[in-house]
């Protein structure tokens, strides 16, 4: 603190009497929790008593230092964190908003296609006679096979087969076609003979 002003204006004497301000009243004054009449009385004493003045001003230093160390001492809406969060949310809305609207408003694309049933696809179909495929390994094998054949499919969660597929005995039998419909990561498969 400024040594000159400290020496110039601060009380330098202490009354001989023991009639000092009660500690709790000094604490209340530091908190601003006294009424007007009482405050006038206390201020009058503080201007003349070095001891009471010193306790008050040291208490103000301590309370202020402690408040500044506590994260909750600043109202939440005045913190930098709040403004940073608000700006982040705004940026996310500006950048991601149109994409999100598009995502939520547009119906997911449906893929419809017919493929000549080659040996690779037949192998996958012949693994077992289940009509509902849920095993990840089998789903991934079909997914890879479709991607290799030019399908833009990222993921399959389920495959539903219209009827079990069995190998045709005839070597020269009619060609077969696999009709595929993919919607919401579910593939509907049906094998038909080609006319």
């Amino acid at each position: 603190m400024g040594k000159w002003m400290n020496k110039t204006v601060n009380p330098s004497i202490e009354p001989d009497s023991e009639d000092h301000i009660l500690t709790e009243d000094l604490a209340r004054l530091a908190e601003g929790a006294v009424d007007t009449a009482e405050r006038q009385q206390l201020i009058g004493h503080l201007n003349r008593c070095q001891r009471c003045y010193q306790i008050l001003q040291e208490t103000l230093v301590d309370v202020s230092a402690e408040a500044s160390m506590q994260p909750g001492s600043v109202p939440w809406w005045k913190t930098r964190m709040f403004y940073a969060l608000a700006v982040s949310i705004l940026l996310v809305l500006i950048i991601g908003g149109p994409l999100a609207i598009k995502h939520w408003t547009q119906r997911p694309p449906v893929i419809l296609a017919s493929l000549d049933l080659d040996q690779g696809l037949k192998d996958i179909l012949l693994e077992d006679d289940a009509l509902k495929w849920e095993k990840k390994e089998r789903l991934n094998r079909l997914l890879t096979a479709l991607q290799q054949r030019g399908f833009e499919v990222q993921e399959l969660n389920l495959v539903l087969l219209s009827k079990p597929y069995y190998q045709k005995k005839s070597l020269f039998g009619p060609k077969e076609v696999l009709h595929i419909r993919i919607e919401n990561k579910v593939a509907y498969l049906e094998v038909k003979e080609k006319d």
């Binding site: 603190m1 002003m5 110039t8 204006v9 009380p11 709790e24 209340r28 006038q40 003045y53 040291e58």
Partner: protein, 249 residues
């Protein structure tokens, strides 16, 4: 409220440690202060802690209580000290110089100015330098830099060079010795003539470097009103100083 529980809490112990460290630079004094405060809080079956009525926050009460006890401790420390006989023989002015420089760690230059302001010494600076020779030879355990005429550097009372923070201090610092002494007398007289509330506001903000909001709370004013009042008061100080022919160099 369980006083034993409060006294054993780490929170209170940290508070005591913090206050003692701030008030004393020597580690030994800090430790003695710490023990004194704890013993005093335990005394008479925790009488001082039991005196808390819940009218203020407990934390604020504890800080006020610790600070009061630290002041008592300091008094006891000072009370044990004796001004060396060689200094006391020179008179009251010499005792005051010894207190300022040895105990409060001001420089001899500062002490000369304070003596002049309080009317305890009327001689010139040259005479003062000659007359303090015996004081400089006196023992001083508290201040190893006692014999120096320079600023101690580690003074508990630091100078402020920021005009915005304390324009009156800034002005006083810039003045030469004679005008500084005159200015201090004007500021002291002007302060004494202010209403009680304004006096305390000036003391807290410009005498003790409290923040305006903290001082405003004590006075019972909104911070913005206290800030405006301080501006008005500074204008008054300026007018009084100008009337005495003191202006910023």
């Amino acid at each position: 409220m369980d006083p034993e529980k409060i006294l054993s809490s780490s929170d209170l112990l940290v508070k005591i440690e913090t206050v003692c460290k701030r008030r004393f630079s020597a580690e030994n004094d800090q430790n003695e202060c710490y023990l004194y405060v704890i013993d005093s809080l335990k005394a008479d079956n925790f009488k001082r802690l039991r005196a808390f009525k819940g009218k203020s926050k407990l934390d604020t009460y504890l800080y006020s209580l610790i600070n009061a006890l630290v002041i008592d401790f300091r008094r006891r420390q000072y009370g044990r000290r004796r001004i060396p006989a060689g200094v006391a023989r020179l008179g009251k002015w010499a005792e005051t110089v010894y207190r300022f420089v040895c105990w409060q760690k001001f420089t001899f230059d500062d002490a000369y100015d304070f003596l002049r302001i309080d009317g305890l010494y009327t001689g010139s600076y040259i005479e003062f330098i000659k007359e303090i020779e015996p004081i400089k030879k006196a023992p001083c355990r508290e201040n190893p830099a006692f014999q120096s005429l320079e600023e101690t550097g580690k003074s508990a009372l630091k100078n402020i060079n920021d005009q915005g923070a304390n324009p009156l201090e800034f002005l006083i610092q810039k003045l030469d010795r004679e005008r500084r002494i005159k200015a201090i007398k004007v500021i002291r007289a002007t302060t004494a003539a202010l209403p009680e509330e304004d006096q305390l506001l000036v003391r807290l903000v410009y005498g003790s470097d409290q923040s305006v909001p903290a001082a405003a709370k004590v006075i019972g004013l909104p911070a913005s009103t206290a800030g405006k009042r301080l501006k008005r008061l500074l204008t008054k100080y300026r007018e009084k100083l100008l009337a005495e022919g003191i202006r910023e160099p």
